[in-house]
């Protein structure tokens, strides 16, 4: 399978050729991965395009071909999918916009602190990472009860302290976003923190010494040594955090149920509901490609910006 249709693979010639390395060696080494990649990525991706061109219900014998209609619907105001889909894209966009900066900056500050030598450092490292091991259902139900506007502990204790105790944390805007972003930051900041910590430990201490010799203060050392040293890590963290935020589903599903109205219904939620619950797989597939395209553009921009600034 892996050899089909290859006449002259252009592999860069190694300096010293291993005794029996034929022209197919590299492909054979990649074959196990390529097989999985083909079955689980390429085939579904292409098959998905095909689905998106139909009114596709896997259980109905007739799956009418509709051409680009599912895509046209997504740009035609008044179609059944236009309103809810762009509303859900907006919700996803807002959540990403609010949560990514916090999830990039707060873990960085935490990592800087946790990278210093002090007593109980490992305890704090574990503490900040701890929520990350919880599942979204646990996190969601826990915070739904805590944030309940009428019977939740958060409003209760705010009242005890003499603060406003009627804040509709999970039923009105902007509070619902405050809650969803807050919960997500609390839940996932440990992951980014660990990545930053690893990155910080990779920076050569000699660079800091050299900077000190040159008379750089703390801030200057951060800007001129730490940040450049973290550049690849930052790129990774930002990319991964954007993608994770854009995939947000569980938090709003459990905590706000998409309320008020459909304001916190995210794109992944709406797509999954249309495709897997209502079996409208054609429109759902079309929406997935629009979302995927949007994320690809964001990720490429991200890479371009980081590359530009550097070399």
């Amino acid at each position: 399978m892996a050899t089909q249709g290859i006449e002259q693979p252009r592999v860069r010639r190694p300096r010293r050729k291993p005794a029996d390395a034929g022209p197919l060696t590299a492909y054979l080494f990649m074959a196990p991965y390529l097989v999985l990649f083909t079955i689980f990525i390429t085939v579904p991706v292409v098959f998905g395009v095909w689905i998106s061109l139909h009114n596709w219900d896997p259980l109905l014998p007739v799956k009418p071909f509709v051409g680009l209609q599912n895509y046209v619907d997504l740009i035609s105001p008044g179609s059944t999918t236009f309103g809810p889909f762009w509303n859900s894209m907006e919700a996803t966009g807002k959540f990403t916009l609010y949560s990514v900066p916090l999830l990039v900056i707060i873990p960085l500050l935490l990592a800087l602190i946790l990278n210093r030598g002090f007593r109980g450092r490992n305890f704090f490292r574990a503490t900040f990472f701890a929520p990350y091991v919880l599942g979204v259902a646990v996190v969601g139900i826990l915070w739904r009860f805590l944030l309940d506007p009428n019977i939740g502990l958060v409003n209760y204790y705010l009242g005890v302290l003499g603060l406003p105790d009627k804040t509709p944390w999970i039923t009105a805007l902007p509070w619902a976003w405050v809650s969803l972003v807050g919960v997500t930051v609390w839940w996932t900041l440990g992951f980014n923190t660990v990545i930053y910590l690893a990155g910080l430990q990779d920076i050569d201490p000699a660079l800091y010494d050299a900077a000190k010799v040159d008379g750089a203060n703390g801030w200057q050392r951060f800007v001129n040594v730490t940040l450049p040293g973290l550049r690849p890590v930052l790129l990774f963290v930002i990319t991964v955090t954007i993608l994770a935020s854009a995939n947000m589903f569980g938090q709003s599903y459990v905590i706000t149920q998409g309320a008020p109205g459909e304001e916190t219904t995210t794109a992944i939620w709406y797509i999954a509901e249309q495709g897997l619950r209502f079996f409208k797989m054609g429109p759902a597939a079309a929406m997935s490609y629009v979302l995927a395209l949007a994320l690809a553009v964001v990720s490429l921009t991200n890479f371009a910006l980081f590359r530009y600034r550097g070399d």
């Binding site: 014998p61 007739v62 109205g261």
Partner: protein, 444 residues
């Protein structure tokens, strides 16, 4: 890179052709055997075939699961040649999983479905027609609550054998009523009594009737009220939404008034009305019969249940219904279908045990039995079944609500939109969805 990608595409095309050919064959296989399976056995009278084991799926994840398990165990000990094993999955997951599981031939042999899911699953070929069960066992409309019997039909065929009806009722917290200066044994039953009671509670600082903006229980409350005000959610053949009628507007106005008049707090979150009821903050709760056992389990809670108060011009209540279905499983053994019919018949006759799980049996003989009458709260809910309503039996009807009425009620109860405008907007969305569903299932 470029080459690799091109190669991948080639392979994919082949794979795709194989896939679609396979799918076609599978469907052809299904079509051929469905009617044979439907005729298997003696329609549930008895089973004489070889020993079979049946996989029975349902969504009884709450306090109702153990009651069904008890029935299954009893059946297994009585019927030597049939071994039923029960598997419980959350309803939402259940309705997603069952169709594909059944199609792949790995799913359950039989299961339970809600009445509004029956037409969808019948149209999609997930479940078998059970007309021969009804015929062989001589089950007639007069043996059941008429509305639930009729709702099991789709395109002239019967797909569900009704097990129960679960209506919405009025729960009242006796302690809270007493604190508010009300007689804890005299729950309000008319609009005047209800409003007077709420006013009385308000004078003691109690918000007496929490209105939820979510389907459970605000959406169900709306669906009860619209019948009381003489309306319906959809027209009879479900081609048009009618929930934006005057009845719908009146219903939603009544709910909103409770919030704005201070009889309900604003911003009630999911399940908060229930928690507040068990805490004694909420006096009245419109909720389903399935809450009987969970409320009994709450320590020191003094509560009662009554039929819903009549707010509008007539009596009306929302209700759901669980129905037995037999799956149209690919490559199914006819013996299993025959055995499944026997199991369904047996449980249907023993549904007084199921009533204890917090349900009203659909079968008249069971509902009128001494055993049912002696239950504490179930007979109270049974009083409502002459005036409960279901949505019209058309495929995809359950999806329409989610995309239209559900968010509208949510925004109105959260005081973000006016009832009339929100309902009109939701109705035009619903009409579009109904039309799409109609086209989808007609084409099939």
């Amino acid at each position: 890179m470029g080459r690799g990608r091109a190669r991948g595409r080639e392979l994919t095309r082949q794979d795709f052709l194989l896939l679609s050919a396979g799918a076609g064959l599978a469907l052809a296989g299904c079509g051929g055997s469905q009617s044979d399976l439907e005729k298997a056995g003696t329609g549930g009278k008895s089973y004489n075939g070889p020993k079979v084991s049946l996989s029975f799926w349902n969504g009884f994840t709450g306090g109702d699961g153990p009651y069904m398990q008890k029935l299954v165990d009893q059946f297994n000990s009585e019927e030597k040649n049939i071994d039923v094993s029960m598997n419980t999955v959350e309803w939402e997951t259940y309705y997603q999983k069952v169709p594909s599981a059944v199609q792949s031939g790995k799913g359950p042999d039989l299961g339970i479905m809600h009445i509004d899911q029956l037409p969808t699953n019948a149209a999609r070929g997930v479940v078998l027609a059970l007309d021969d069960v009804a015929k062989a066992l001589n089950l007639k409309e007069s043996d059941f609550v008429p509305i639930v019997w009729q709702a099991g039909l789709y395109n002239g065929k019967r797909y569900g054998i009704p097990l129960d009806i679960h209506p919405l009722g009025l729960y009242y917290n006796k302690t809270t009523m007493e604190q508010g200066g009300l007689d804890p044994d005299d729950p309000p039953q008319t609009n005047d009594e209800y409003m007077a009671a709420l006013e009385q509670l308000k004078s003691k600082g109690i918000e007496g009737s929490w209105i939820s903006p979510f389907l459970f229980s605000g959406g169900l409350t709306f669906q009860a009220l619209i019948y009381q005000f003489g309306g319906q959610l959809y027209n009879a053949d479900a081609t048009k939404a009618t929930f934006n009628s005057q009845a719908g507007v009146d219903s939603l106005n009544w709910m909103v008034d409770l919030v704005t008049e201070g009889y309900s707090p604003k911003n009630v979150a999911q399940d908060a009305e229930y928690t507040a009821f068990t805490n004694g903050d909420n006096a009245f709760m419109w909720n389903g019969i399935w809450n009987i056992n969970p409320l009994d389990d709450v320590k020191d809670l003094e509560w009662g249940a009554a039929p819903l108060p009549q707010i509008g011009s007539e009596k009306g209540a929302w209700a759901g219904s669980h129905n037995f279905v037999i799956m149209n499983k690919r490559g199914q053994d006819p013996n299993k279908v025959a055995a499944a019919k026997v199991f369904i018949n047996w449980v249907s006759q023993h549904s007084e045990e199921w009533a204890k799980a917090g349900q009203v049996p659909a079968r008249n003989s069971v509902r009128e039995s001494q055993a049912f009458e002696s239950l504490k709260w179930q007979p109270v809910f049974a009083e409502e079944i002459s005036y409960v309503n279901f949505t019209p039996p058309v495929p995809g009807i359950a999806d329409v609500y989610t995309g239209s009425l559900d968010p509208a009620i949510n925004e109105v109860v959260l005081l973000k939109k006016e009832p009339k405008a929100a309902l009109d907007e939701a109705a035009s969305k619903a009409n579009q969805l109904l039309k799409e569903n109609q086209e989808k299932y007609q084409a099939a």
